[in-house]
């Protein structure tokens, strides 16, 4: 039988120039439930679907506030995310202590990028099995960064990672031009709609399974869960139900092909 001989560690290239362990790690990200993020000129928003292992269990944590000015949303191995978020928390506190300033989002993203990269170049290590969206507001305004297990980081206006996130990204791409000038409420609605598009047919956004994180020029990053988001879900759904039940369905179909 054929066996892949180049995926035993993350330091060996395959003859095609691929590092399989890193690619497998990226598969782990796709197993995680979907998270999306969007920025406007004034705000940065994260939205996430929380899964529960069984009906009686609690829901997982998808959005973690790190510092007052930013937070992260994760897709993939939650324990790896915790290691990264602990590191980010430490770095953020260190920046505040040594310089009395909040760390730049570009800086903290570069730092976890560097950390993840070293895992792909040292024997005996494994890549992080988690992807992150890092969103918040710093001295240069609102930002959204995406982090991948390979150590690749990109800044984006909108993004989504996790299971079936392609559908969310399709929604975001279609509405890309609107985001820049969106107000706070509009941005949240866009994020929720993008999230909704990634759900399978039989699922709904509920106050139990949805998480929201919002940061703005004038407001700290805050995590909204449970009844706090009932209002947003209601208004967002309302629009959908009235507006375009058919159109939404059409989008979903398109992606599946």
């Amino acid at each position: 039988m054929f066996r892949n001989n180049y995926d035993n560690d993350s330091v060996t290239f395959s003859p095609q120039g691929r590092i399989f362990q890193v690619e497998y790690a990226q598969e782990a990200v796709k197993q995680g439930s979907v998270v999306v993020g969007i920025v406007s000129k004034t705000h940065a928003v994260l939205a996430a679907i929380k899964r529960n292992a069984e009906e009686l269990s609690s829901y997982q944590r998808k959005i973690i506030p790190i510092d007052t000015h930013y937070g992260i949303a994760l897709a993939g191995l939650a324990s790896d995310a915790r290691v990264l978020s602990n590191f980010m928390k430490q770095q953020s506190l260190a920046s505040r202590l040594t310089y009395a300033r909040p760390i730049l989002l570009s800086d903290i993203t570069a730092r976890i990028g560097d950390r993840a990269q070293t895992n792909t170049q040292h024997y005996g290590k494994r890549p992080y099995g988690v992807g992150l969206l890092i969103a918040g507001v710093d001295a240069r305004g609102p930002h959204l960064f995406e982090f991948q297990p390979s150590g690749v980081t990109v800044e984006c206006v909108a993004g989504g990672i996790g299971a079936r996130s392609q559908m969310a990204r399709t929604y975001l791409e279609r509405n890309l031009d609107e985001f820049e000038n969106c107000g706070r409420e509009e941005l949240v609605k866009h994020a929720l709609r993008a999230l909704k598009d990634s759900l399978s047919q039989d699922k709904e956004l509920t106050v139990e399974n949805t998480s929201l994180g919002v940061a703005g020029m004038e407001e700290n990053f805050k995590l909204y869960e449970g009844e706090e988001i009932a209002g947003w879900l209601e208004t967002t759904f309302e629009n959908k139900a009235e507006g375009e039940t058919g159109a939404e369905g059409g989008e979903g179909m398109e992606v599946d092909t």
Partner: protein, 264 residues
Amino acid sequence: MASLFHAPMPSTGPGYSFSAQPTAASAPRQHAGFYPYTDNGGSTLGISGATFTILAGDTRSTSGYNINTRHAPKLFKIGGEGPDNLNARIVLSVVGFAADGNALKERLDTVVKMYRYQHGKEISVHACAQRLSHILYGKRFFPYYVTAILGGLDEEGKGALYSYDPVGSYEREQCRAAGAASSLIMPFLDNQVNLKNQYDPMSGQGLEKVQRVPEPLPKETVEEIVRDAFTSAVERHIEVGDGLQMMVITKEGIEETFSPLKED
């Protein structure tokens, strides 16, 4: 400070007089050289009530007979959100060596912030108090040269006040004065808060005399006592003055006020 910069030049380097060459590896220290501490003066005090705790401190910072600044707060909110410590419920006051005081404040603040990050809830004053003791004791052999007082509300909502020595001995008390004028203020507090040496005038003489029993004071009375303590200390101690910083911790949060003291 000026004298520090004008110390005599070193005169003995390695010379070529061979008989004078040192044969031992090192001679005993000639003089103390660098001393890592200084005293920045000032005073603090704390009083706990039934539903509140008040901490106060003057805002003068001194070096010897010099006034560094008239506005150097000694009271710090601990463990709130962000750099301004919004919604904090614990206050630390430090007096002594200001640089150590700042370092101590930042360490405790970081610890309390990490506690919330890791446990998803606020630390209790009693846990915070014990942690502070450990931080101080951890530097037992190179101490933070400060007298700390920690204030907040306990789990029952009662005023909680903890006082420390520089190496971490601590105790929960009703009231405590610390710093340069502590010896002036503490006896006053003993008398006014714990009613020491106050007897029921109706009771008899000699062994018949009955001590008045202290009970928690109302907030307004305590604020008055604090103000009186400081205005008196300012009169008698040169390192105390300029401004009075007060923090009142209640279940509604922390109310911080600054008011003037004499600048002489």
